[in-house]
């Protein structure tokens, strides 16, 4: 909690995007998280990504559940829609919202408690349905809001602040997502915005559920020597598999196209993501290769980061359900509800 509001003064050279908005216009209220919380850096990365993508704030919906992470949605894009749901139910509420209005950009923010414990079922099925949304897990390995108990993502051997070691196997959201058909899986670190911002942009452009597991250290309960999710540990053990560069639809290609491990993935909206693998045998468009890489890193005690897997041609929930391109909320009532006569005719077929 800070004592004052962020002064409205802006840097004199602060630029505007094509909507006439500056970076500051994508901010929200002042954070009440602990000073130094990784989540605040994720917020800053989201602000940066949304400004660069020129998202219209009033066409976005910020979705969250319960936990430190779920407070994040208050801290960016104060002019956007938002829904703070009950614990773990963010994916389900977003599924419903998206079903009704497919024209909004959905930004779901969750945490390792909200998504990997109470809400793991909700998350898994939103992934399977491929709901068109950005799904950010701010992963710090502890329940910060209830004073630092281990969460489901805590590594075996990682200790609590008071020194006890965790003995239960962790759930890796990236591996889980890969195994149940996720079409966009990435991992990043709150302390590395150079990596995180392009991934967020690619995730927002992706049609389908873009799952981004962000290691976001809990500065109060899990930034100590025995932690495997501290700033220092993450910096020392992070291995970037694939670096993503996001290119909007009409951007001129200025980056060198040379390099052995470069792949360009065309996104649904015409934009593209250029993926630069750091290892020759790594193919970020191949699910099995991605899965194997994450497992191998895990075995070596490394944290695999980067845009691990992407399927540019994925079909989202609406494609699978064959809903019309017009958002359901914009359809006239007569088309949404065929009426009693149509129901009677349907019922007659089962008689």
């Amino acid at each position: 909690m800070t004592s004052i509001a962020k002064p409205p003064v802006r840097h004199p050279s602060l630029r505007q995007n094509s909507l006439g908005l500056t970076l500051r216009d994508y901010e929200g209220v002042m954070s009440t998280l602990c000073a130094g919380c990784g989540h605040d850096s994720v917020t800053a990365a989201l602000v940066q990504a949304a400004w660069e993508l020129e998202l219209e704030p009033h066409r976005a919906a910020k979705m969250s559940g319960i936990g430190c992470s779920s407070k994040t949605t208050a801290y960016f894009m104060k002019q956007s829609h938002g829904f703070n749901s009950v614990h773990g139910r963010m994916p389900s509420v977003t599924t419903g919202a998206n079903a009704a209005n497919r024209s909004l950009t959905y930004i779901g923010i969750s945490g390792d408690g909200d998504s990997l414990s109470i809400g793991i079922g909700q998350m898994a099925h939103a992934i399977r349905r491929n709901v068109n949304m950005l799904y950010v897990i701010e992963n710090n390995g502890v329940y910060g809001l209830t004073k630092g108990q281990f969460s489901a993502s805590a590594d075996v051997g990682s200790t609590s602040k008071r020194g006890e070691a965790n003995e239960q196997a962790p759930i890796d959201p990236a591996l889980l997502a890969l195994s149940i058909g996720a079409t966009f899986v990435a991992r990043s670190f709150s302390g590395d915005k150079k990596q995180l911002v392009p991934i967020l942009k690619a995730g927002l452009a992706h049609r389908g559920l873009a799952l981004i597991d962000v290691i976001s250290p809990c500065v109060t309960f899990n930034d100590h020597e025995g932690s495997t999710k501290s700033y220092r540990y993450t910096r020392e053990h992070e291995v970037e598999a694939v670096h993503a560069d996001y290119a909007p639809v009409h951007a001129e290609i200025t980056l060198p196209e040379s390099g052995d491990h470069l792949r360009v993935v065309q996104m649904h909206d015409g934009s593209s993501v250029r993926l630069r693998s750091t290892a020759a045998d790594y193919d970020p468009t191949d699910r099995a290769s991605a899965y194997a890489h994450v497992r191998a890193c895990q075995a070596r005690g490394e944290i695999a980061t980067g845009l691990l897997f992407v399927d540019g041609g994925s079909r989202d929930m609406h494609d699978l359900l064959k809903t019309p391109p017009t958002p359901l909320i914009d359809l006239p009532h007569e088309r949404l509800c065929p009426g009693a006569a149509a129901l009677d005719a349907l019922m007659a077929r089962y008689r």
Partner: protein
């Protein structure tokens, strides 16, 4: 780029733009905070330490601090620093009990000061408490120099000046009024240990154009005319008056003319408005009094009929600038402006007819004394110069700054030390942290606009020459204006070993001052890699020692830092702290107590 050495007082001093810009380095943010706390006497005394004449300067200063003020870079206008200084002066209690007392036993050194203007009075102010005997020679009957005879009383009431000169003189200066010095040699022969010359630049520049000599009674030299008004030798002026020149003296002349019966006053400038020497606020005040300011007119001749001045002829100029910025003009046409009197306010010259040229005081080709910029010593070891007498006309605050430095030199000289061994600047740097998110200063940003000074109504102004135009700020205005100060002396202090590179400070900074980056290139390149490259390159960038985890560096661009302290509030490890910077300026006397002297 090398890591920044913040243990050098100059780094943090430069961040306090107003204090850095002030020739006397007045501690502006600290005195504004004291005003905010209604501690006017303390505020006045703090002011007086460096600028000696807060009441005078609070009305007349040329305000080098205000164009420098950081607020002007983040908001439209700077803090009204000068007029807040006047608030402290107006509302103070009796300060005499807090002034230093001269010792009963003198140190046996006698110093002569020539002229009782701001420079000499500052020397006296600094030397009297040390036990020096100070003799001030003044050709007029009252002290103050140009502050008294050239600044009109509607801008500076005599009572304010009397009081502030009195504080110094009453410390025991021996005043020799009505005593112009006619020979420096004779003065030196009286056995003074040092002589300080603060005799100003008392000679108005003349204009050599046809007709100038034909009607002498109607053509005046600006500063002489102002002096004559002061001494009541002049009490009226003709209805139509032309002022040639557009500096601050011209502004005083035109406004004084309006009070002595002139109805049509025109100020004529050779060049366009942005080249005017007068301060913008003095131009505004003149225009408020319905003085017409005419640009791009060069005087050609004075028109005299039957021994009477009837007008002036001007060439209207069209100015162009070549790509290198050099201006050239072309005469468009010639115009005649009728008038009954002309006042020439085109500059001042120094005059030293009373200094013999064979006594060791060297003069340059322009007739100016050769004076050391730091020590103020002339080529004669016992003769020092300051104020306008040293390097030509400047402002009062410069004269005060000169006086302080000359007093240090004189004190060094009298103690047998080389005057070039200047005492060093020092600083204190103390955390202002009270507790969690609690600071010993108000760190909230106040978006209020600059307060506008209230003025006396025009009719009353013109009725009496002595009616002060500016009424001062009301209590409400003071409360608003003090809160506009950004407290630039409360510095962001960084301790690299504590940093965990969480980015919290970078994310929260409202003006994108901070960046964590690699340090592999020179400053010009580094500046381009900052979160928001500054438009203003005159401000320093701070570069830390390598950070513990990644060996990158913390970089802070000082340009538009609001000193809001949010970086320190959001820092989980207190690597950032807010610390009160206090510049310790050397003063006369302190030098000879200290061992650590540095060569200038």
């Amino acid at each position: 780029m090398e890591p920044t050495d913040v243990s050098d007082p100059r780094y943090y001093h430069k961040v306090v733009d107003c204090q850095w810009a002030c020739p006397a380095h007045t501690n502006v943010p600290a005195y504004i905070r004291l005003i905010a706390q209604e501690r006017y006497t303390e505020s006045y005394l703090l002011n007086r330490e460096s600028n000696v004449f807060p009441g005078v300067l609070g009305r007349t200063c040329d305000r080098p601090c205000e164009p420098a003020c950081r607020r002007g870079r983040v908001d439209e206008k700077p803090v009204a620093i000068c007029r807040l200084k006047r608030v402290a002066a107006d509302l103070r209690d009796e300060i005499r009990p807090f002034l230093p007392k001269p010792p009963d036993v003198k140190n046996g050194r006698r110093i002569a000061l020539v002229g009782a203007g701001p420079a000499s009075l500052t020397v006296a102010n600094d030397l009297l408490p040390l036990g020096y005997e100070v003799v001030i020679y003044e050709r007029n009957r009252e002290p103050g120099g140009l502050m008294r005879i050239n600044i009109p009383s509607f801008r500076l009431p005599a009572a304010v000046l009397d009081e502030e000169c009195g504080y110094i003189i009453d410390m025991g200066a021996e005043m020799r009024y009505g005593t112009p010095v006619t020979s420096l040699k004779a003065l030196l022969d009286e056995g003074y240990d040092a002589v300080f010359i603060g005799s100003g630049a008392p000679k108005g520049k003349d204009l050599d154009i046809p007709g100038r000599a034909a009607a002498p009674a109607q053509v005046h030299l600006g500063i002489e005319w102002l002096a004559n008004v002061h001494f009541k030798h002049v009490e009226r002026i003709e209805p139509r008056v032309i002022i040639i020149g557009v500096g601050n003296t011209a502004m005083d002349c035109c406004r004084t003319a309006k009070r002595l019966g002139a109805t049509d006053v025109k100020v004529i400038a050779r060049r366009g408005r942005r080249h005017f020497k007068a301060s913008p606020w003095e131009l505004e005040d003149a225009e408020e009094e319905l003085v017409e300011i005419i640009e791009n007119h060069a005087p050609k001749r004075m028109l005299v009929e039957n021994g009477t001045l009837v007008g002036m002829e001007f060439e209207v100029l069209d100015w162009t600038e070549d790509p290198s910025g050099r201006a050239s003009s072309r005469v468009v046409r010639t115009v005649t402006i009728p008038c009954d009197a002309v006042i020439l306010a085109i500059g001042q010259d120094n005059a030293f007819p009373w200094i013999e040229r064979d006594i060791g005081v060297d003069f340059d080709a322009q007739g100016m004394p050769v004076v050391d910029r730091i020590t103020h010593q002339s080529t004669h070891p016992r003769v020092f110069f300051g104020g306008d007498a040293a390097w030509g006309p400047q402002n009062i605050i410069w004269a005060v700054a000169h006086g302080h430095q000359a007093a240090i030199s004189i004190d060094l000289l009298c103690n047998g030390r080389p005057v070039a061994e200047r005492p060093p600047e020092g600083m204190t740097l103390v955390s202002v942290k009270n507790g969690l998110h609690s600071w010993a200063y108000d760190n909230d940003y106040d978006p209020s606009a600059r307060q506008v000074m209230r003025h006396e109504e025009l009719a009353r102004r013109f009725r009496d020459l002595n009616v002060e135009v500016e009424l001062g700020f009301s209590a409400e205005q003071v409360a608003s204006e003090v809160s506009r100060c950004l407290n630039c002396d409360i510095q962001t202090h960084f301790a690299p070993p504590k940093c965990i590179e969480c980015d919290a400070c970078i994310d929260v900074c409202p003006t994108n001052c901070l960046t964590i980056t690699t340090n592999h290139s020179p400053e010009t390149d580094l500046r381009q890699r900052l979160s928001a490259p500054a438009l203003n390159l005159t401000q320093e960038i701070y570069l830390s020692e390598p950070l513990p985890q990644t060996k990158r560096v913390m970089v802070k661009d000082e340009d538009v830092c609001l000193h809001c302290g949010l970086c320190a509030e959001r820092c989980p490890t207190a690597a950032w702290d807010m610390r009160l910077f206090d510049l310790i300026q050397p003063v006369a006397g302190a030098a000879c107590d200290r061992e650590e002297l540095v060569r200038a």
